[in-house]
Amino acid sequence: MTRDEPQQQSASAPRMRGALFVTGASGFVGRRVLALAAARCERVVALSRGELSNLPANVEHVRGDLSGEAGWESAIARGDTVLHLAATTGKASPREYERGIVDATARLLGAARRAGVRHFVYVSSIAARFADQTAYPYARAKTHAEVLVRASGLPSTIVRPTIVAGPGSPVMKGFLTLALAPVTPVFGDGQKRVAPIHVDDLAELLLEIAAGEPSAAPLELGGPDALTLDALLARLRAAHGRGAARLLHLPLAPIRGVLAALEPALRPLLPLTAGQLATFANDGLPEPNALLSARAKPLRSVFEPRELATAAPAPPLALQAPLASEDSDAVLRDECATFAQHLLGIAPTLALCDRYVRQQRALGLTAPRGFEALLLRLARRGGVQLALADSYAGWLARRSVLRTKLVGVLALLETAPESYAAVDAPDANAAWPRLLLRGLAEAATAGLAVLLLAPLHLLLGRR
């Protein structure tokens, strides 16, 4: 990298020529980028799958999916700058990462080449250069997409942010949950380092990069504080006025092994993925670069209380169910039908479901939060997930909202004309062998349920 590459720009730099075409515009970073870009660019074209509201006049919203129909392609024009933020994140299968990151980038590159864009900025991830990408399909997909960008021949820059912090940061929310737990599990030795960058700083830097000239070398972007994971968790805890953290270092390899083995079948149930543990296995400090070292304005600290304020201790992965009292009648009726099917294998009448709605409103169960909410949400999916949730509740959460709801359904079934007989009917024959089988089935279900849910229970707490 030479000293004048990339060209340095300040906030007062001349406006970008042509339009800025932003993908992933509704995401965590995308929303901040849009807010800044509207003020700094002549014209912005924002691509997203979902709605975008309250857009300034110079922002054009194009609804579309990089992996879907090609209607969005015509929105890219000669001389535009592309800022490619969109990516599949969270819990997804390797195939989904492949589609959402590699395939999508390939299509965007093709469209950009056809239009003849001025600058293609690819927002990758520090994980793309992790040495240890074990069971981390997201990181492998990012690495692959970087190769495509470099091979495209387009004037391009690859950017690799580290952990992105700031209000609403999903990653920081996860760390915060760990940090505020009574005992904080740390996977591995906790000595790997990170340098979280504030989302507003990142958005500003991305716009500077986009407005500037392409860079041959990837730009790694981190925040002002470089610290170990142990230190990060301790600082998050301190920022919330809590006492010293009790860190519990857990062996990384076996946990990753178990998670990786379970993932194909049980991905939606798992609290975290093997891939997400890569942060604990790799140093995540950015390589120094001219852009950061020459920057006059200091980067924000991510530990200011206001930056963490909205990242309150909430369950990660958006598994929080709405409050019971706020559930609509339809949700409760569905819940009743699902639970009746589960308990007795019968479909309840509409009248019974309506009574259940009345019952639930009358009981006024306190709003389930944290682990209880997760349990309820799993249960509402019915099938295996309900069986696991019910079993777990029967051993380790006997006073949970879920169990109270199941009892409420059972009480209705045993007193209603169409179902009371079914509650009492013994199996036609072989009662003892059947009881034995049920015992074994319970042991198996309970074992699996505890294995999967107990760590979450510890992590999220009781209420």
Binding site: A387, G394, L406, L410, A411, L412, V423, D424, P426
Partner: protein, 536 residues
Amino acid sequence: MSRVVVIGAGPSGLHFAQTLLERGIAVTLVDAGRARAAAPRPELDLDGLKRELPDSTEYFLGRDWQALVRPDDSDEYYGLPPSKDYVFESVAGDAVRGEGFEPLFSYAAGGLAEAWTGGAYPFTEAELAAWPIDPRELHAAYGRVALRIGISGASDDDLQSVFPAHAGLLPPLPLDLHGQALLRSYQAKRERIRERDGVRLGYARIATLSRALGERPACHACGRCLWGCPSDAFYTPSVTLRECLRDARFEYRKGWLAARVEFDGSGRACGVALRSLDRAREESLPAVAVVLAAGALGSSRIVLESLAHAGRRVELSGLMDNRQVLMPFVNLRLVGKRFASASYQYHQLALAYEPGNPRDVAHGLFTTLKTALVHPIVHALPGSLARGTAVLRNIHAALGLLNVNFADERRETCRVGLERSASGASRLAIHYQPDAGEPARVANALRSLRRMLLRLGCVAPRPLTRWRPMGASVHYAGTLPMTRDGGPFSCDAEGRLRGLEGVWVADGAGFPTLPAKNLTFTLMANATRMAQRFEP
């Protein structure tokens, strides 16, 4: 004209009143008098109710879901049937604070016994040793009450020494299938169970008619006992109230609470200060004699309020109650069998546990749990609720509940007094402390009983055994005891309260001891005995 005023229409007050009426003495009975609603569709059996009531879930679970036993707020195995809510409904101003004691009160016509399970067990001579009365007199009264209300049971089985025979005993009801199985198993292993476990088993004594008595028909096994017998084959004191109401000399002052006894210049009781249930009106009812029968706690409250009104603050000690332990069990031979919900629901078999020390005697009642709601039992089982439901379907016929009662004795540490609550109102304060030996005594008994059940082919899982809190059995007694020597706030054998002239105590407050048995039958018999000797 001043009359004899009886306070409280529970088993004691009603049998006291009825006996006076039989003697030709006019009686005024003061009572809050909450009445039970008529049982719906008396011709239907239990399943019929579930099938045919327009909203069966509301009948069984209650308009406000009060019979729904939630896992997050209750340890009970029964939800109280909504049809019996009126028995425990409170009234304004009955504030109470219990320490080590969870008291229940009733303002129902018939009292707490409107929700009883019918166990009618005469005390033995040994159990009456500390009573200042002639046991023969009480036994004659047992017979007299039995002729009035109808009691079924055997007098020739292994329990005859524990349950003395008396007049008016009807043959036992036919046993349900589970009862038959238990009795057969017992007969096969009788010697071993008696010797090794110290247990004897036999027919229960129950206030349920096996033959018609007057207008009341014999039990026709509709299975609705718990939900309210629709035919009066099952006795509750409101039956006696109805009989009293036919007598022209009986005056029923319904809708009133007795606030306190009023005294004349010479210190003799001359009336009762009444308060309407809504506390809107007060009235003074003149009386030639005041008979307290508001229940041990209710009568204690009236005595304390009367003394407080005269500026005397005292505490009454010696409160007793039977500790109850519930042992659910499964009869392994009946797993997978069907059962008839149209069968008698309450206990039909009883047992006596008699280890060496008579103090340690326990009394057990077998209920075979056919028509109680099952959801409280299912959620007490370990594991998932779906599997619990499947398991219950197969063990329902095999399920039983042994309700074990333990004796109590008067102790200074168990007291009842008045105190001011934060709002300045007067409230009853109850302190109860079990004796130090109780845990070991109960644990020993439970060990023997569990072993005995195993010999009968029944498993009683230890985690499901529950000690109910003191106060739960509602066998309250002992705060104004009958004694020979005449200490303060005690009664003589006729129930005259010493220190308050013109006041009689006709209920459990007068019991000097509390054997392990249900006391209701003795409440009725003792009140009858006193009323026979009553001279105002």
